[in-house]
């Protein structure tokens, strides 16, 4: 079964398909851009994005909005994680966290789905901490500074663990389970 995934990010597409393949679902990239509303809830951003893209492509579609919420920074960079990454990178976030003891952070992924009749949001969360330095290869976003709870390595150092327990794994799992039950 195929379904459109509106994203310009090849890493997100790959992660979605790593999940989808277990359900016989293939996510097909739609490079349809959509305006991201300014809301501190990634779920609302994903929902609005899915509705917007559906109106244009008239086919069932998912979008993913993701945020890294760092406790000591009052939830920064949150829903603006991609913007902040483009501007100051993981290194900037590390600098903000320099000398900060409470390093707790939450990665949240929200998958928004719209087929014209049904609009639904599926969330996945991953609790962790912000590392004290960049660890692992810089391939995707904040992976080199995020250490999931109970682990010693960052997402960038341990792709196998990321694939098993990440926020996006959980949100796409939830979506796939629901989609197959339709």
């Amino acid at each position: 079964m195929k379904i459109l995934f509106a994203t310009s990010n090849p890493h997100k597409l790959k992660e979605a398909n790593d999940v989808g393949s277990g359900y016989g679902i293939e996510f097909v990239q739609a490079k349809e851009p959509y305006p991201e509303i300014r809301d501190e809830d990634v779920g609302k951003v994903a929902e609005a994005g899915a509705k917007y893209v559906f109106e244009r492509v008239r086919q069932p579609v998912v979008v993913d909005d993701t945020g890294l919420f760092i406790d000591a920074l009052n939830g920064f960079p949150g829903p603006y994680s991609a913007y902040v990454f483009r501007k100051i990178d993981s290194a900037g976030v590390l600098k903000l966290m320099d000398g900060v003891e409470n390093r707790r952070a939450l990665f949240v992924s929200a998958v928004g789905f719209c087929n014209g009749k049904t609009v639904k949001v599926f969330r996945g969360e991953c609790i962790g901490t912000i590392a004290k330095e960049l660890r692992g290869e810089q391939i995707f976003g904040y992976d080199p500074i995020f250490v999931p709870e109970g682990c010693a390595k960052t997402f960038a150092e341990d792709a196998v663990t990321k694939e098993r327990i990440s926020h996006r794994k959980k949100s796409f799992d939830a979506f796939c389970r629901w989609f197959l039950s339709l």
Copy 2:
């Protein structure tokens, strides 16, 4: 002459009226919220906001969108200046600038106007540098860390200079001149 100014920020309202009074224009606060589009151009955010509020209040209205664009941070916090301020404050921006030599920054204000027929944007800019520490009272946004070009004091330390040369002074001047010429 009165005109609505959609803002929840009393400081912006005061600054607008400091300018407007010289033109016989009074800005009256409208607490109508509007979604801020995600665009790196504050002009587009202000334009979309003015159109949105006009559709609701059906009266001529202005909105202001402002950003602080720091060269060494690739333009961060830019159009998300208010969000970033709520999360990490001027102190967070100072931390990001710790040890950074190039401290050049640009404050940009865009006033968006809509009366149902005409939609227009008026920009004002102020070049300056990011101070090395907080200076002056924390009353409004990044004022304690912004030193306008040619000055020794931050906006927070020298309200008289701010009133004379600020980005918002310039954008509202441009708007008022145009509005009176209608």
